[in-house]
Amino acid sequence: MFDVNKIRNDFPMFDKIDPAKPLVYFDNAATTFKPRSVVDAVTRYYTTSSVNIHRGDYELSYQVSEEYEQARKTLANFINSDEREVVFTSGASASLNLVAYGYGQKFLKPGDVILSSEAEHASNILPWFKAAEETGAVVEYIKLTEEGELTVENFRAAMHDKVKVVAVAHITNVLGFIAPIKEMAKITHEYGAVISVDGAQSVPHIPTDVKDWDIDFLSFSAHKMCGPTGVGVLFGKFHLLQAMDPFMLGGGSNARFDICGNILLKNPPFKFEAGTPAIEAVLGFKAATEYLLSVGMQAIEDYEHGLRVYLVEELSKLPHIHIYNPHAATGIVTFNVKEIFAQDAAMYMSSKGIAVRSGNHCAKILLDLLETSETIRSSVYFYNTKEEVDRFIEVCKEVTLEKCIDLYL
């Protein structure tokens, strides 16, 4: 049974908030709070098992290595993949770059096409700009609907024989629409291309099943799903991981090498994990995944959807608010206060204890579609409440340009 008050008790951040200065944290698309079990897993490593993995002949190193590999199994189960297909990286950006460098730059040829969308986060489009520059491939865009949604019809229309890579977000970080990823994967494969999915905003919020969707790559970060910063996952189908190159080489990624420069790399996922990883973060990531599973991903999706519908319903009643994505399904609501610059309005909200993000949200090419240079983004997670939405709406109701300026007088 989903009980948000019980859930909030699991998060030390909520205890730390000064009751005299309440904080409504609606910037969960940027990063999320951590439950106690995650904090404990991180400190447990540093206090009871602070040794390296995959090296030592001693008992403690063996134990930590086992736990580390156990984390890989947990993550593999979480997205329904094989553990050999789970590469630990420093986060979604590193994962997305690894695909563009390790796969894209190795296999793309002049004239090949990388198909993406104008709603992509910088981390999912800039690496492909670079891959295009290096290989002579070109980037093309799938036409979005007026509200910024990616549809199967538009995707099919954009697809052609030259497309070798499809790079899209499952849920975009500005507009929060869920892309029809399973249908897109099917179409991608009809053309013999691969699909790389940015899951940074989707894996934390909806159930993930890479086998059912039949996608080729999936990138996501721990810190957006209650886990530590500095760690993430690249899922890749095993034969693709085998074919592609690592981003860097070093200790732990090679099986053997000799003085002539011959290198024999380990098999995936280890060939991509040179150097000592963020061990404590991986162990914390495991705890975060277990925490989300205990709440239930479907329950999380349903609860967030309910909260979002309520927020949009209330926000729509305010004539001075313009909502850009009223029909998206997830927790991201992008809006502006009419006649007030996004940053000024966000600062006013901050003065009233509401944490939202203003800016262009690292999706700079989307702005032509929205016809505005910046927006305010509010993003809820499963620990946010209806009461917090009410508080947020109250502040949205009262905001005026005068009040925004008065902060600085």
């Binding site: 007030i340 610059f341 996004a342 940053q343 000024d344 600062m347 203003s358 800016g359 262009n360 240079s373 910046e374 340009l401 005068e402 925004c404 300026i405 008065d406 902060l407 600085y408 007088l409």
Partner: protein, 153 residues
């Protein structure tokens, strides 16, 4: 003038007027103008400031771009304050403006409407907004002086 500092209604009106109807808010095509593009790395502000210097004076200052209330209004007021001043006068005004932003003693009379920002410095995260246009004009003055030194050498 000191009364003005304690009159938030008037200060607010000054900022609102300059935000809603910014002065000298159109760039020139004249190549005689120096131009500098200021794009903040930490926020959205993205403005271009142009200046024309003639016979040791600030003949004209213009700007355009996308920016928040504080950036737009402070840059608009800057253009009004500096047009027609000698370079030395302009530099003195800029110096006092920076003092005010840093919460140091400053000449209230000299800064005219710019005193509307006398409390911005209390909020460190907005200092960049209140100085973006002013940093641009400093750069333009320095560039102009360097060029002048070059030609008179």
């Amino acid at each position: 003038m000191n009364d003005l500092l304690n009159n938030p209604m008037i200060l607010r009106q000054i900022i609102m007027d300059h935000y809603e109807y910014p002065h000298n808010h159109k760039l020139s095509d004249d190549p005689a103008y120096g131009s500098v593009h200021m794009a903040s790395e930490s926020c959205i502000d993205d403005i271009t400031v142009q200046a024309l210097f003639k016979e040791g004076k600030v003949a004209d200052v213009r700007f355009d771009g996308v920016a928040c209330t504080i950036s737009t209004a402070s840059t608009s007021i800057m253009t009004e304050l500096l047009i027609g001043k000698t370079l030395d006068e302009a530099k003195r005004i800029i110096d006092h403006y920076n003092k005010m932003i840093n919460m140091e003693a400053f000449d209230v009379e000299m800064l005219e409407e710019a005193v509307a920002f006398h409390n911005v410095g209390k909020q460190a995260n907005r200092i960049k907004c209140a100085t973006i246009g002013w940093k641009a004009i400093i750069q333009l003055i320095e560039e102009s002086e360097a060029k002048h030194d070059e030609t008179t050498r």
